[in-house]
Structures are given as structure tokens and as C-alpha cells.
Symmetry: C2
Subunit: 459 residues, 2 copies
Amino acid sequence: MYRNLYNNLVVIGGNAAGLAAASQARRINPELNITVLESGKYISYGTCGLPYYISGYIKRVEDLLTYPKDFFEEKRKIKILTGHRVVGIGPARKELLVNVAETSENKIISYDRLIISSGGSTIVPPIPGIDSSNVFQFRNVEDARKLKDHIDKNSPKKAVIIGGGQIGILMAEAFNKIGIKISLVEMKKRIFSGFEYEISTILSRKAEMENITVLTGAAASSINNSSITIENGEGKKDIDCDLILLATGISANTGFLSDSSIELGKNNAIKVDSKLQTSHMNIYACGDCATVKNIVTGKQDHLPTANNGVKTGRIAGENAAGGNMTFAGSVGTIVDRVLDLEVARTGIGSDEAISMGYEAIKLIDSYASHAESVPGAKKIAIIIIVDTKTRRLLGAQMIGGEGVGKRIDVFATAITSEMTVDDIYMLDLSYSPAISTVWDPVNKICGKAVLALDSKKIQ
Amino acid sequence: MYRNLYNNLVVIGGNAAGLAAASQARRINPELNITVLESGKYISYGTCGLPYYISGYIKRVEDLLTYPKDFFEEKRKIKILTGHRVVGIGPARKELLVNVAETSENKIISYDRLIISSGGSTIVPPIPGIDSSNVFQFRNVEDARKLKDHIDKNSPKKAVIIGGGQIGILMAEAFNKIGIKISLVEMKKRIFSGFEYEISTILSRKAEMENITVLTGAAASSINNSSITIENGEGKKDIDCDLILLATGISANTGFLSDSSIELGKNNAIKVDSKLQTSHMNIYACGDCATVKNIVTGKQDHLPTANNGVKTGRIAGENAAGGNMTFAGSVGTIVDRVLDLEVARTGIGSDEAISMGYEAIKLIDSYASHAESVPGAKKIAIIIIVDTKTRRLLGAQMIGGEGVGKRIDVFATAITSEMTVDDIYMLDLSYSPAISTVWDPVNKICGKAVLALDSKKIQ
């Protein structure tokens, strides 16, 4: 039996992807020895919920721990070693060099098969003073605890967040809720630059309305204990602050692979194939540290979302344990609830469509989230990107007060099944006055695209 | 030019489908004479919002009137004749016999092309006493006004609703909200019999918790002014009541076609093809009075929803005015928000799957609507019906506290594009802790189906 060829599976990383992998491996192979090596103290925590812990919406950090260690050890017979940081790898000898926090010493751990799910880390920009004690990162439970303790002890009044992406905005909201005045500093010309500029503009205005100062086209040039220096095209400016948070994006935790021959791709993420196998046949990778196939572009991309993490984890675990499952890929679906708005995207944006050579059109409109006769309807702005040649939907983005999150999923499903805007225009979507309009906004924006494409055809 | 072959388009019915048809005809043909004949006083009202008017959630009936008559007459140059009821048709002469409310006289109206969107009416069961003054119907604005006036003047305390389908439950909730004690009488063994029995059971329990008395397997046998006699297997029983509401289902308003050779189908709905053309080439039909193609069964079905009404209306209008648009069909998507729950379905149920000869399996489970670490997560029960041979999803149904409405649309989209449960299991659906779980419930139930299918394969 092929199972006897290996019996020792090691998983690097004890968060969503790694534990999904370990659990799936156990499900399909009850005899395997499975060990999870986690560098931190905590396993299985909800990374995406961490901002709610800072704002006090989630009271105890324990509420974010989805499953305790015992659950994996006892129920699933998976050995969990926390405080075990992998610092090197020898694929030829099938060995890992592991630093153990308790003893500060290194030890060798062997594997037959390996799953790397080492996650991502905050990118630390090379700014003078970046090591100051008032500079915080925000990626894991340890980071969140450290930040919360600091806030509880020092009651900071003013903070600067460097980076206006998802984490930047979510943390601006969290700080705002506990009375910390925020300046959000973004190097690019607009915040939320992974979205179309119309979405960025709506979000930026909403942030300003909530008394968050948004500074775009501005880079931090140096940090002191009580201020940060910001440079934009016009010159330098000091902002007084008690606290600085880095929300400067994520890079894959793959530094420990630098001496190995394991191939890396975009953002230093580990290159994998549709089986989640790396360039080494006994090594799999999944989650934020690995590439995923972008269904729209057909290329290996870095799309570090929790949804991709658990799916790739499950498949890597299945395959490493002897199964044969294929990952179809991701359409890059994202949603955030922030500043009383839901913001979501799926597929590719207009810049990416153009750079890929599509003759694409972009449509934008806003609609009521449900029938306006029923109190409480909110405005939703929708943008879609459509290939004029095939009439296929390439991407969709939305921002609005309600009903955005699961509506983006209709677009995600339509993109995955290569639907045209004609198809989506006529999709039989649910209607009840408290939930939608008779033509759902998803139908409506695609109807608009059909009209635009048809009039273009006539010209 | 073909347009000159006809210049007189008549539309029967001035609600959603008819006005969608007239408006689309105008859009693509600016020269056509378009006349809409509406039997009642009101046009363009939101039928689905009428229960909210009874409960007082929508204060004025005017708020349900989506567009005023002037809008169509002035902006769209569409002639609107209210109080014009079509009582007969002569397709050979292209004539309609129309009864005019104002004069009570009949007149002849000619057409070159005709669109029938005469809607549906409450089925009135042949019960002795059904004509009593305390018996009400509830289908249109006139019905709603009459009922509301009666309630305002007579302050009824106890009511019986005959029929436990969508309208029955929605009206039970509306009456409940204004302090009228309700008995809901359903002839079949369970309420909401268009859904799987598990959904019926959850809804029935919820109704009982809200002090609505649910009587199933019970038929009304006679009506007096202050009571109704109910019969079930065990015998007869009188229920005292001040008011009786008929929620006994809808039949197509096609009585005026009885002497014509226009073919009728299920529930007396007018048979149409994918162009919305009837058996007569110059006559189109759309909305609740017409059949629609069921995408799952491939057959002409009667699925009288507002979502189907506006779509078939638009296409009938386009084609009657010289265009050439095809209706792909409907998957029968329905959602209601009722008794603090959302209830939704799409595709076919398990009985229909079996009667069609599918070797289908049915899966059921319940999930949190969003991450349980974030306050406010509600339970959602999901049922899916899967064809074991092709692994395709045939139908899905859901009931729960939030996030049901637009989640059913993901299933509707997946069914339309003939996805397998393997495809849906791995769909890249949006995640944020306040909006979903990392594996969306839609992914989860399909993952369960994949497991079930795979273990069946092994056996």
C-alpha cells in the first residue's frame, strides 16, 4: 500500500491553512503521524477578527481562538508544538532546523512529507526610527495583545497608521471607536488602491466624515518617539502621535527557504501547482505563504485571503496524505465591513484587464439595496469590468450600506463559470421588498452593460 | 421597414410585467402607438409590499405605487387606460372586447400586436358562505385598501387565514403585528408545502412561538358571519372569527381567453415559447398569467414571481416591438422575510427530482450566518438536492435569521450554470467575520455532499 511509503507528515504553521491541512490529512489517512510546528504561542485564531478585539467589540482574545490545542491533540491525534520556529530546511535530507522558544536552542525535525503554511508577515519599511517602542505591527494574536496592553496602560490619544489598505482602514475604525484620533498615511495616490478609484473615493470621504485624517501620496520618512515625519510632493510635515501602526502590506513568510531550491513567485510566495505541490515533490504549500491560481488571468498569483487559506489547506492536506484533489483556483473575492459600509471585490480590476490586453469596458452605477418603499434601504455602488469581445464579466466591485457581501458572491460565481453579462442580466435572483429590488442590482448593472455593448456594436 | 407592418401595440395589464413590456417596446421603437389596459384603478404597484401596508410598516398605500400614470404617459408616451377590463378576444380580427368601469359598457379595442400580462387572481374555493362580507382576498391595491379600511373601522380581534403558503404566512405576520389573533388553516399536511418539510417544520414552530395557531390537514367546510367550520381527519370544529382571509393560491387571469384558441398550460397560464410568443404569432404573454421555462426541468412551468414578471415583461415588450430577445428561463428563485426569518428556495425540490427520475440525494445542515466570535450570528438551515449521476446541484432551500436572501442567489447562479457540488464546494466566496464564516455555509453544505457522493461511490 502506498501509504507505507511515508508515515511522518510535518506541517509548518498552526493557523487556518495549516490546521485545515493537518485535519484533512488525518481524515483521509488515520495512520499517519502528523505534527504541526507553530512559531507563536497560539494556534487556530481568527486573524480577520483581531481588529474587533482592539475596538472592544470582541471582549476577550480567547473568543478568537477557534479550536483549542486539546481538540487537535485528542480528537484528531495531531501533535501540536507551539514555540517552534522553522529557521532552515534541508529537502535532500528531509529535515527541518527548528528553533525552540522555551530553550532558545535549535533542533532537527525530520519529515517524510511536508506542508508549508507559514503565513505572511507585515512588511516593515526601512524608515529611520522604525524600531521605536511606539511602533506596532498587527498580524497575529501576539501583536494584538501587545497593542491592546499598550493602549490599556498608556491611553494614547493620537495615532498614525502607515498604509491605507484593508488592515489600515479596519484599524483606523477600531482606534476611532475607542477615541484615538487617527491619521491614515498612504504612499499611493489613494487608499484602498486594490479597488477602482471610485470605491477609494467613497471610502475616503466616509473616513473623513468619521474624523479620520486621510493623507495620500505621502510617505513616512522618519519616526521619533512622539512624532512621525511625512513627505509628500509639497514637502515635509511632522505629525504628533503617541502610537504608530504599520499596515504596510503582507509578504509571505518564506525567508527560511532562502537557502533551499524551493521556487518562489509573486511577493516571495511559494510557487505551487494545482495539487498545491511545490517544486519539490514531497513538499506542499498552502495559505498566505503560497501562490494560488487566479481563475481570471490563469496565472499563479498571490491572493492571501482566509477563504483561499482554508481551501488550499484542505487540498494540500488531502494530497500530502495520499489523496488527489485539484484546486480550481481563486477569483480573489474579498469583503470588509468597515465604517458602516461593506466593501467587496472579485475578479480583476480595470487596470489589470487593460494590462492583460482585454478590450474591456467599465460600468458604474448606484442602486437601492432593497425596495425603497420598505424603510432602511441603503445605497450600493457597483462597478463591473466586461470584456467587449466575449461579453464575459471579468471583475466586479461594490460598496454600500447593506447587502454587498453576499451579492459579490453572485458575481464571483458568475465569473468562475465564465458567464457573459447577458447571462447575468437575466439571472433569476431572489426578490422580496425587504431584501432586494425586483431587478436585483446585480441584474441591473449587467443590463446596463448589455445596452452599452449593443450600442457599441451598432456604431 | 418591418416596423410599418404594425403600429398599434396593446398591453393588457398595468402592473410590473405589463409596464416593463410597454416601456421596453417604447425604448426600442419610438414610433409605436402603445396602449396599456388596466382593469383596476391603480397601475405599477408593488404587490409584494402589500402585507407591509396592513401591518403599518408601510404607512401609505401611495408609497407602494412605483411610478405614477403621468410618468408613463408623459415621459414614455404610453397611453394608460385604467378601469378597462378585457372580457373577450377575437384574434382573427385582432380585436379585444373591453368593459369600461366608468360607463359599465363594453367597447371594441383593436391591436396590431398584443401583449397579455393580465396577472393572477386568488383562487376562490367553493365553500358555502364564501361570499360573506367578512371574507377578504389579498392580491392587489384595491384588496389591500378594502381590508385596511375594514380593519380600521371594525377592529377585528380574531381572524382565520385559509392557506399556509407565502401570502398566508406573510399576512399572519401582518395581522399578528396589529394585535389580531390568527388561526392559519392549511389543507395539506404542512404549511409552506412548496418547500422541503424540514423548512415547513421550522417555520411552523416559529409561527406557533409567535402565537399563531397552525392547523394543518384541515379544510374549511363552511363559513358564517362570525365563524368558520374546519374539518380534519378527526371531525369538525368551529372557529370564532371576525375576519377570514383567502390565501388559497393564485391562478392565471386567463378566463377571458376561454373562447379563443390561445393555448393554456399549467394553472391555466398562457403557453409561451422562449420569445414569449403565444400560440398566435402576434400575441405575446408575460408575468403571472404566462408559463416560463423552468431551467432545471426544461419544461414550461408556472412560476409567478415578480422577478420572472419584469424579465418576461421586458423580453415580451422587446420582441413585440420588433426585437429578438430570448428568455433563458427561471430557476424558481423565491425569498420571503417573515417572522424574523428569511426563507428562500431555488431550483427543484426532492419530490420533483424523484418524480423526474433523478437518482437524487438530499443533504441538510445548519450553520452560523457569520463568525460566532462576532456578536449577532444567526443560525441558517440549508437543504440541497443533488443528482448523484452528474453531481449537479438541482435545488437549494434555506431558512434562517440573516444572510439567506442573497446566499440563495449563489445557488441560483450555480444551478443556472449547471455547476456540480464539487465546483460549488470550492467557490471563492467572500469572507469577513461580520458577514460570513471562512468556509461560507454555501461551500460547507456542498462539501458535505461531496463526501456523501464519494462514500457512495466507494460502496
